[in-house]
């Protein structure tokens, strides 16, 4: 069956460092992925998306990389800030499949 999973359930980084959150997917036909951020007590919020015809997409302080060969994508957050503390989900958008999430904790 389809699955979207994350390599690490938790990630702690020092404020100012870069964060990398990884995600693996199983459906090679997936062509659209989204990263969401979910703060405590709130619904997920869109961060950035990428289509399968791209390898990289950049936003403000965030970059998503897609490696279709190994069915892997990552979210990179530059200069991580306390406000970045949240759970991050990757999602394969076509079939509404979300990974289990990675909790990012930013240490002062």
């Amino acid at each position: 069956g389809e699955s979207v999973g994350l390599h690490l359930p938790t990630l702690s980084v020092q404020e100012g460092d870069n964060s990398i959150i990884n995600c693996a997917y199983s459906n090679s036909a997936s062509d659209y992925f989204i990263w969401y951020k979910q703060e405590s007590g709130k619904g997920p919020q869109f961060i950035i998306d990428i289509r399968s015809n791209m390898d990289k997409r950049q936003g403000q302080r965030v970059t998503v990389l897609l490696n279709k060969t190994v069915k892997h994508l990552s979210l990179q957050i530059a200069a991580t800030q306390p406000g970045d503390s949240a759970v991050y989900f990757c999602a394969e958008s076509q079939n509404f499949v979300f990974g289990p999430g990675t909790r990012l904790s930013v240490l002062p």
Binding site: K42, G43, A91, G101
Partner: protein, 113 residues
């Protein structure tokens, strides 16, 4: 407001009772989704509405779960004869069309005693 709203924000019910959860999507969004999120878990897809098409019910866990969307806008998720394992946060999202960025509501936290 401009966002997705859900009501109630919290619902406590007794095992065996029926509950209705409401979702008001962003005006003009044709796609509406329901998800379930258990504590510390990811999102579990339940059902998807797109315009006037038949809904994708493939994620509904049992026939106790049903959802409708009236007039292409408001949606209600109904859980009949609730069980303790139904306790979770139920999230609704909408998008301008299926497969696009989804805008989520704050969720309804359901607790079944």
């Amino acid at each position: 407001g401009a966002g997705v709203s859900q009501s109630p924000s919290n619902k406590v019910t007794e095992k065996g009772k029926d509950v209705e959860l409401r979702c008001d999507p962003i005006s003009g969004h044709t796609a509406l989704y329901w998800y379930r999120q258990s504590l510390g878990q990811g999102l579990e897809f339940l059902i998807y509405f797109q315009g006037n098409s038949a809904p994708d019910k493939s994620g509904l866990p049992s026939d106790r779960f049903s959802a409708e969307r009236t007039g292409g806008s408001v949606s209600t998720l109904t859980i009949q004869r609730t069980q303790q394992e139904d306790s979770a946060v139920y999230l609704c999202a909408s998008s301008s069309r299926g497969g696009n960025e989804q805008f989520f509501g704050p969720g309804t936290r359901l607790t079944v005693l």
